[in-house]
């Protein structure tokens, strides 16, 4: 999908993707010549169609996770389906620690998807040299990476 600024005859550049959390998606595109910004707004069904392909409009923001689509999209997932025992834990292993508040917030994520969400946040922090994950870091990561519902 490409956007053309008809007046300038210029391909518009992708700006950002936003997932408001209501099943819709917003993506902005900017004309590099005149600076005009347009937003593409998809309805829940259009967003779902794209999600069901396991692809992301605007490109992937995080590496694909194992069983990602299943874990994100199955509504009836078993709470105890996954043993996350091999997930990296703790600062001692070279991975960021979790503040008490961040851990509490993580408990609100359904078990079925929690391990995957935890790994995404941990990878985000590790790549940026962040040693402790706090709710503020989670908010920043969520906004930067476009993690709906995480």
């Amino acid at each position: 999908m490409k956007f053309l600024c008809v007046e300038c005859d210029q391909q518009m550049a992708f700006g950002e993707r936003t997932l408001p959390g209501d099943g819709t998606l917003a993506a902005t595109f900017k004309c590099p010549k005149c600076g005009r910004v347009v937003a593409m707004l998809t309805n829940p069904m259009e967003t779902q169609l794209v999600s069901s392909l396991g692809v992301e409009i605007g490109g992937r923001t995080v590496p694909s996770q194992p069983l990602e689509t299943v874990r994100k999209m199955v509504a009836t997932g078993r709470d105890d389906a996954f043993d996350e025992g091999n997930e990296p834990r703790g600062h001692a292993a070279g991975h960021p620690t979790w503040s008490a508040d961040a851990q509490e917030r993580l408990t609100r994520v359904p078990n079925f998807v929690r391990g995957m969400v935890k790994k995404i946040y941990a990878d985000y922090a590790k790549e940026r040299g962040i040693t402790e994950i706090t709710p503020a870091i989670m908010d920043t990561a969520r906004a930067e990476l476009g993690l709906e519902g995480m």
Binding site: M1, K2, L4, V6, D9, Q11, A13, F14, G23, P44, M45, Q48, L49, S51, S52, L53, G54, V55, E56, I57, G58, G59, R60, P63, S64, Q65, P66, L67, E68, T69, V70, K72, M73, V74, A75, T76, G77, R78, D80, A81, F82, D83, E84, G85, N86, E87, F112, G115, M116
Partner: protein, 256 residues
């Protein structure tokens, strides 16, 4: 006004590249699998899953590294048949370990992910769900193939649900048509339904390895196995009685 192909800057979303990466992930994951064999039928209730599970166990007893992917996402039975109901899957970095069932058969099934008795339901708008549900199930099948640590396998059996949709999705995901083992029961009704599926498999380029005629020797009358074998020029590789023994399955495994 210029059109899509006249705009030379790359498409930032790169959806085709993302789909290409998905295909590569599947191909890389299955690189250690010597043979992929789809167990299918055009008809429900003929015992595909039962045949698949027991064939897998016989292959494994014979020394072959064997896995089963339960592609019946809406009616998964393989965990129960392979003795791994309730097993937890281990997420291990970029992959998920399959369960290990009876006789060492590796198993992946939607039954590992949803509770007993619960339907497979997806998040998303319920209106028009028929539009996207098929794509969601295809994505699940792709992830079962590409994200499970199948490792080195001699045979990966794919237990397909009735009908042809999952088979066609499988062909698309694999990039080629898998070899097919067909299961029927003796009745003419089964023969007619299975024939359609076999014809579709041939049209897609699958090798038909043979026919398993299940539930033989009871009240079900007919000659579906022989009729289909003659029509498609392939053997009946097994006639499974109502009370098969391990030897029944060993003999089937030996022919494959």
């Amino acid at each position: 006004m210029r059109t899509y192909h006249q705009l030379t800057d790359p498409d930032r979303s790169g959806l085709l590249d993302q789909i290409g990466a998905q295909r590569k992930r599947v191909a890389d994951r299955l690189a250690g699998v010597r043979r992929i064999l789809a167990v299918m039928s055009g008809k429900g209730g003929v015992g595909k899953s039962y045949v698949t599970a027991n064939l897998a166990r016989a292959l494994a007893r014979g020394g072959s590294a064997t896995g089963v992917l339960d592609a019946d996402l809406n009616g998964p039975t393989m965990p129960g048949l392979l003795g791994v109901a309730g097993a937890r899957l281990t997420a291990n970095g970029a992959q998920v370990e399959p369960s290990t069932g009876t006789d060492g058969v590796r198993c992946m099934s939607m039954g590992h992910l949803i509770p007993d008795g619960a339907p497979l339901a997806f998040k998303g708008p319920s209106a028009e769900s028929f539009v996207w549900r098929g794509a969601m199930e295809a994505a699940a099948l792709r992830e079962f193939l590409g994200d499970i640590a199948w490792g080195e396998l001699d045979t990966l059996l794919l237990d397909l649900p009735p009908g042809m949709q999952r088979y066609i999705e499988l062909c698309d995901i694999l990039g080629k048509a898998p070899a097919v083992l067909t299961v029927t029961i003796p009745t003419p009704e089964s023969r007619d339904a299975v024939r359609r599926a076999m014809r579709a498999a041939v049209d897609h380029g699958s090798d038909l390895l043979g026919i398993v005629e299940n539930m033989v020797g009871g009240e079900l009358k007919g000659s579906a196995g022989d009729d289909l074998a003659a029509e498609f020029g392939i053997p009946v590789v097994a006639r499974i009685p109502w009370h098969p023994t391990p030897d029944t399955w060993n003999q089937l495994a030996a022919q494959l």
